[in-house]
Point group: C2
Chain length 536, copies 2
Amino acid sequence: MARSKTAAVDGSNATDFLHLSIADIRRGDRCESLTTQLRQAIIDGRLATGARLPASRVLADELGVSRGVVTEAYRRLGESGQVAARGRGGTVVVATPAPDKATPEKAMSDDVMGPTPPLLDAIFQRPFGNLSFEELRAVPARIDLSPGVPDLAAFPRGAWLRTERRVLDALLPADFGYAPAAGTAAFRLAVSRWLARNRGVRVDPEQVIAVAGVAQALALLAKVLRAEGSHLVAVEDPGSLGVREQLRANGIDAIGVAVDDKGVRVDELEHSSARVVHLTPAHQFPMGVVLDGDRRRDLAQWAVDNDGLVIEDDYDAEHRYDRPPVPALRSMLPDHVCYASSVSKLLAPALRIGWLVVPARMHDAVVAAKRDSDLGNAGLPQLTLAALMESGDLERHLRLLRQRHRRRRDAMVDALREHIPTATVHGAAAGLHLTITLNEPTDDVELARLALSQGVKTQPLSMHRMSPGQPGLVLGYAARSPGEIGEGIAIIAQALNRTGAGQAIRNLAGTPARRAGTPPGAPTRALSTSTPPRAR
Amino acid sequence: MARSKTAAVDGSNATDFLHLSIADIRRGDRCESLTTQLRQAIIDGRLATGARLPASRVLADELGVSRGVVTEAYRRLGESGQVAARGRGGTVVVATPAPDKATPEKAMSDDVMGPTPPLLDAIFQRPFGNLSFEELRAVPARIDLSPGVPDLAAFPRGAWLRTERRVLDALLPADFGYAPAAGTAAFRLAVSRWLARNRGVRVDPEQVIAVAGVAQALALLAKVLRAEGSHLVAVEDPGSLGVREQLRANGIDAIGVAVDDKGVRVDELEHSSARVVHLTPAHQFPMGVVLDGDRRRDLAQWAVDNDGLVIEDDYDAEHRYDRPPVPALRSMLPDHVCYASSVSKLLAPALRIGWLVVPARMHDAVVAAKRDSDLGNAGLPQLTLAALMESGDLERHLRLLRQRHRRRRDAMVDALREHIPTATVHGAAAGLHLTITLNEPTDDVELARLALSQGVKTQPLSMHRMSPGQPGLVLGYAARSPGEIGEGIAIIAQALNRTGAGQAIRNLAGTPARRAGTPPGAPTRALSTSTPPRAR
């Protein structure tokens, strides 16, 4: 029997825990050696601020040295300001070295006016890629009008914690183990009911696959498509840069199909060689168009005739204000639609929870891809979300968000009318963002760069275009207050003034051109009152 | 300006929310039509049990019908038992159809003796694959001695919730947005300190990459290796089936290198064509050997001479009982080691949180692979775990687990000595499992199948072998009580009796052979007393 009995060193000993070298301490200057080793432990983080040192008697016993050696070492560390005696609380670490570099989170919370020109130049270099979003997010901005997030301040912290507590209380030990790769049964059931109630999609719970968001859904589908020999997906143009970069990063070429005011041009799709198309039919990103009835019929015909596959990215369909719900394509074409959505626009992107429903023939391959990617989503957040869906808490949250987002949408439309009256607003009836196009020749990347240098973050429309088209901006309103939105739009108008295209506004308003040298951060109120109220 | 003003249908209306078709209800038999539509909404889950129907007056207004139509529809649904009036609580749904199929979780909680023979045959068919683990997990078992999980009942629910509440309270709205793909700064800092304290690894926080567990770390590394033209990784034999299946599923061929009592045979590695090797040096899976000093030096030489890469899978190194900590290879070979570990063995696999540290030259490519896979781990659990690491709560939990696991390890070793004295025990000084080898010819897959048919789940050693070798079982002890462990080992001994190899025990004990027809579930006490106490 190979059971080892050399149990001299116990796993819970302080020396062992701190990786102290007993041999080194026992020879030579014991006190100096111990002090040095403890100091190193504090510097490299084995002993964090607030950590309590072992009682001197205990450590002396473990090391086989006299207690005086340990108390003297503690005294020396105290003199150098690294530890302090806390009476009956023992001796604790009071100072650890700061980490080498400033953390990104820290940089983001700085309330600075705007980032430095070199940083901006690095971000706004073309072509944009998958990294652009993360780089752009990392830039501090006083008013962040990036699209794609709901009102994050509204995250229902209380309901989430209450629900998680209830879920945790009811969990069996086995529920903390590895879950099925496709997701827990409770999550899949809750999502199937959510889809029935909110998206008119009827699906067996067994068909729901838990994923870490739509981005992962695309990565999994790309893997399955590649294995089937498909290396080409048609995407909307303009369309989400993030989507096509995600496909490309996962081995799929994206070709653009034009979008007009009825949605994607199915006739163009018919003439392409693509057998798979990625669409945002309920609220096209970024233009906000709804795929209209005729196009839906044409698309269904295309799918049936070509054994085609539609990846329906239903990213923000629960958010709508001035129009009835748009049924999901999945409900009419279950054998040809992969339906993907997530909580990123309902609750928070940081949760990384989404769901994917695919045609039955693809189901096992997609679950295998999920298993091979990460063995499946985390269990506890799935169960917490499922409980929030089943209790009605998530729908209540959605109703609250709708009211709040609608006010913010209205504030943005009003501010645009006031400050940039020549812009055309697209897609404001639903979603979390709207898009403006500018009818004058404008370099929208330069416009976004200028606005960001003044503390307002947006995305240039051309970033999402594959072929040339009107310049514009994609503007998220959901996460900002009406006041911030008004101020942000005013600063954008000012930036527009400083590019060539501002001329149009000035002509329309009949006011003298604003000096290009207006100092950064000049009061926006002055700008507001100098433009005509309600130009149209 | 394209702002739509056709705001007739409000997003928060009940009709809209329930996807009722107003047009259909307004024509024909209104009451019948409404009843049918509501019934359908209950059947397909738009109205769940406990959901409250809209007040009849409100719904009548929205539909443009008289209130009597709605109250009559509610009455009919009440007659069919689907809704009930609850006084001031309104009318609520009381019965929804059960989901079509029994959920896997439900099946697992059934306290049955054992699964049916056809199910077992399906699982224990060879070769085993990546799906085998999920299939095996789904089989109900009274005593689950599968390796790979800590004591899940000890999950610190209270500390987790308290910490999450504190983290949530302190979060800025932006923290609910998309996080950096490599992980939040707080998480990376906490992990770098954890590694310094517990694994002797010094690493800059910037080098830590948050992943969804070691399985995802392998998938990401496989992608980066493939892009570099590497399609071959050497793995330990015997070694983790899950690891090599994970590599294969991600496009990497695995070749086996023998393991002996000093760890992996570096001389065999030198003679292979592999430039990359996956190792479990601190506690080899499944044999539990520690990679010895000479082998470490040889491995370092191999890595330097061949520009080799070691994937160090440090899956359970924090758990050890009778021996000093084994330093991580990463600490001696930072330019040649990808270090991966997770909380799966510290807290729970269901959390899906792990960390990966790679040589500096690979860092950006691995982070890009993570971004392209899922945009990064969920933020909140990262921050909660970071806080548990920094507060010392996680180390306290680890100490508690060590004590508990050690008792369970002792119980298993004692039970093996009593019931299967001829077996050789491997790797019991650390980890969450031990492995026994059987010195008589035995079909260990048949043995595991028999044991499972009697309610005891284990993994046959041959499942983890690439080339032939001694039969055996891999036995997890961490998640079961000493009583269950004793009973489980007794049942395994009984199963062994029913295979050919049991003969050895009977000869040794000098007792007459037990009848092959011993009924399943016969009292194990009888078996215990019939074998000699303390055979060696």
